[in-house]
């Protein structure tokens, strides 16, 4: 007898066959899903890796800024390299800070530069790396800086125009002439205003005249914008104190270069290589200087002529065009000639680092600057620089704002003085293109105008910044009208190139600025 229902097996086979086919189709469709998921997942991973690497850079920056603000070296034991490690969620980052060749202890530069290499990894696998370059900020980033202001001085809204960052370690008082808010003047402060201390007023500033707030102390935005371009928000009191240097020892060392012996005999000395006749530093001038003239020679080479009593020394740097020396021998570009007071000369390979350091006073400084240069004197010994006339730049027509940082000049002294022979008239004014730092921490050093109470009104047109230990009076002003009665007013035009490309070895502040930032393929080294 045959078993019934034999055909049912066929049905089962058929059903399995169809099921398998359907399964294949479904699987094929499902195949697409992980592709999308994987792409999205990778995206997320990459973003997280980048953020982790970036937090390593931020941490490294905060680390060195914090140390410098506490008066320590950026890296512990002033090492050339230092590694920081941290976590961000599941991610680990490792940030390596490395000093650049000019940064101590590798070099004698006063402006420190560190490379930050930050690597992000997850479970031991490196995913992303970021490389950044950070350079220490200098005082040249300010349009105006004052450490202290003792007397009841005012910044009047009609005579001052500060178009860059302003900082005071003290507090400020602003004179507002009658009807000021009804006029359409350029705001006195174009950029950020930070003060460490404050007056007991609604916004920390003492106003002589009508304040920019109402009787309840509520800010009146219209009025604020007449004084501060950015309105109330651009004024901040209680800012972190920024200390001026106490001496210029770092500049003296940078001028000396690798020379093993500190110059001590009166006269001009070139910072030389330890081994050869090549240059490695700047100029060191021992003793008081009666006059120092910066100039551009024929062919575009830069020079400085220094008079000390009956001795005249001239240093020509062959920056642009090859010349011949007094003996008729060619002097190639990239060399420096030192013409000595006794009529002899020496030729050195290399150019100076742009630093002219004086151990004494410079009683008359003027001329045209070419190339980046800093003229400094011994601040700890209260030495001063007296401006003997205009100080202009080879790359900028007089009266115009510089477009680059090629010929920027820095002056560093305990006092910078304007004698009665300079800035005698309002028109034409005396033009000064420089970042001027005058004064040391907590001292009376500053930017002084001689006989301001008695001299007729004069004007300095400053293209750069003015950083002062002490802000003395420069002019007497009618406290109601705001007009100048006697003395010198300073019209300053901020040069932002001085912040990004500061004069060589200009004194630094605790902040660092990132100059370069790039993501790169991770390389574990």
């Amino acid at each position: 007898m045959k078993r019934p229902g034999r055909r049912r097996g066929t049905v089962l086979l058929l059903a399995i066959f169809f099921l398998v086919i359907l399964n294949f189709l479904a699987l094929a469709l499902l195949d697409l899903l992980p592709l999308e998921l994987r792409a999205a997942g990778r995206n997320r991973l990459e973003t997280a890796a980048f953020l982790a690497a970036d937090s390593g850079v931020l941490h490294a920056l905060a680390f060195i800024e914090d140390r410098v603000s506490r008066g320590e070296t950026p890296l512990p034991d002033d090492a050339t390299s230092y590694v920081l490690r941290g976590e961000t969620g599941d991610w680990n980052w490792e940030a390596t800070l490395t000093a650049d060749p000019q940064t101590p202890p590798r070099g004698t530069g006063t402006i420190r530069v560190y490379e930050i290499h930050s690597l992000a990894s997850l479970d031991g696998v490196a995913y992303r790396a970021v490389r950044a370059l950070a350079r220490q900020e200098t005082f040249a980033r300010y349009a105006w800086f004052e450490d202290q202001r003792r007397s009841d001085l005012v910044i009047t809204t009609s005579n001052y125009h500060i178009d860059g960052p302003f900082h005071s370690n003290s507090r400020i008082r602003i004179l507002v002439p009658p009807g000021f808010y009804d006029q359409n003047l350029t705001p006195t402060f174009e950029s950020e205003v930070t003060t460490v201390e404050s007056h007991d007023t609604p916004d920390g500033v003492a106003y002589q005249g009508t304040p920019p707030y109402d009787s309840q102390g509520n800010p009146l935005p219209e009025r604020y914008r007449k004084i501060f371009r950015g309105g109330r928000e651009s004024l901040r009191t209680g800012a972190r104190r920024i200390e001026l240097p106490t001496d210029s020892g770092a500049l003296a060392r940078a001028a000396q270069g690798q020379s093993s012996v500190t110059p001590s005999t009166r006269g001009v000395h070139l910072g030389q290589d330890a081994s050869s006749e090549g240059l490695s530093g700047g100029l060191t001038v021992v003793g008081d200087v009666d006059s120092m003239v910066l100039a551009v020679e024929e062919g575009g080479n830069r020079s400085v002529t220094i008079k000390q009593g009956h001795s005249t020394t001239k240093v020509v740097e062959v920056t642009d065009t090859a010349i011949t020396d007094p003996d008729g021998n060619p002097v190639l570009r990239g060399s420096t000639i030192l013409y000595k007071p006794d009529g002899t000369f020496t030729v050195h390979s290399g150019l100076t680092n742009g630093l002219i350091y004086g151990t004494g006073n410079i009683r008359d400084l003027q001329g045209v600057n070419k190339g980046k240069r800093t003229v400094a004197v011994d601040m700890a010994a209260n030495k001063e620089i007296v401006l003997g006339g205009s100080l202009t730049r080879a790359d900028t027509p007089v009266g115009q704002t510089p477009e680059g940082g090629r010929d920027s000049l820095g002056l560093v002294a305990y006092n910078v003085r304007i004698p009665t022979s300079v800035a005698q008239t309002v028109n034409p004014p005396t033009d000064i293109y420089a970042a001027i730092l005058a004064g040391t921490k907590g001292s009376e050093g500053g930017f002084y105008v001689d006989s301001w109470e008695t001299r007729t009104p004069g004007r300095i047109r400053l293209y750069g910044g003015l950083m002062m230990g002490y802000k003395p009076a420069w002019a007497s002003v009618d406290s109601v009208e705001g007009t100048v009665l006697n003395g010198v007013t300073v019209d300053s035009t901020y040069d932002p190139n001085l912040a990004s490309s500061p004069p060589p070895h200009f004194p630094t502040i605790g902040k660092f600025r990132v100059l370069r930032y790039q993501e790169e393929a991770p390389s574990v080294d």
């Binding site: 592709l35 792409a39 950070a134 860059g164 490309s501 990132v514 100059l515």
Partner: protein
């Protein structure tokens, strides 16, 4: 009691019906197969489209995050003045080589999209060298500077893909992101 007879053969009706059912099933299966085939190819096409949009984004982002302003009074990233219709362009500055950190100079870079060609191009890092093509076949690239520290990027790509109904028409994929310029986080 019905006498037990030999099992009879299938009737003609049975054969016809079962063949019809089988044919129907086969047809349905074939339809499903074709539909899933096209869904698969549409799907892979879509994934490729998304990939293209994401890749474009990934080529732009690392370039833009390098932006560092030349001076404090300038922005790291900005919309240039010479913008033409049906194009989008963003300009930014990066350190120029050779780079001296104590006396840095900066080089202006731009990223340009032209809808007429569908090309995304940028100028070389070294002045004088030929422009580079970053992406091709892009339907639209939006480059919108939202603030000095952020730029919104929108990438739109299109491709002819078959839809469920089996008709081929242009399908679009769009990705959008806002790139923050890391320089500003360090200020």
């Amino acid at each position: 009691m019905t006498p037990r007879t030999r099992q009879p053969g299938l009737t003609l009706v049975e054969v016809v019906i079962s063949t019809a059912i089988l044919a129907l099933l086969g047809m349905i299966l074939a339809r499903i197969y074709v539909a899933s085939q096209s869904a698969y190819s549409t799907g892979t096409g879509r994934v490729a489209l998304q990939q293209r949009a994401r890749q474009t984004m990934q080529r732009l982002t690392p370039r833009l995050i390098q932006a560092v302003p030349a001076t404090d009074t300038q922005d790291a990233i900005y919309t240039p003045d010479d913008l033409l219709p049906m194009t989008s362009k963003v300009a930014y500055t990066i350190p120029a080589e050779p780079f001296d950190p104590r006396s840095p100079t900066y080089h202006e870079k731009w990223i340009l999209f032209e809808q007429s060609t569908g090309l995304v191009t940028t100028n070389a890092d070294t002045p004088g060298e030929a422009d580079l093509v970053l992406a091709r076949n892009i339907h639209w690239l939006g480059l919108e500077v939202l603030s000095p520290n952020s730029v919104k990027i929108t990438v739109v790509v299109q491709a002819p893909l078959r839809d469920v109904g089996g008709n081929t028409r242009d399908q679009e994929y769009r990705v959008q992101t806002t790139v923050m310029i890391p320089y500003y986080a360090t200020r």
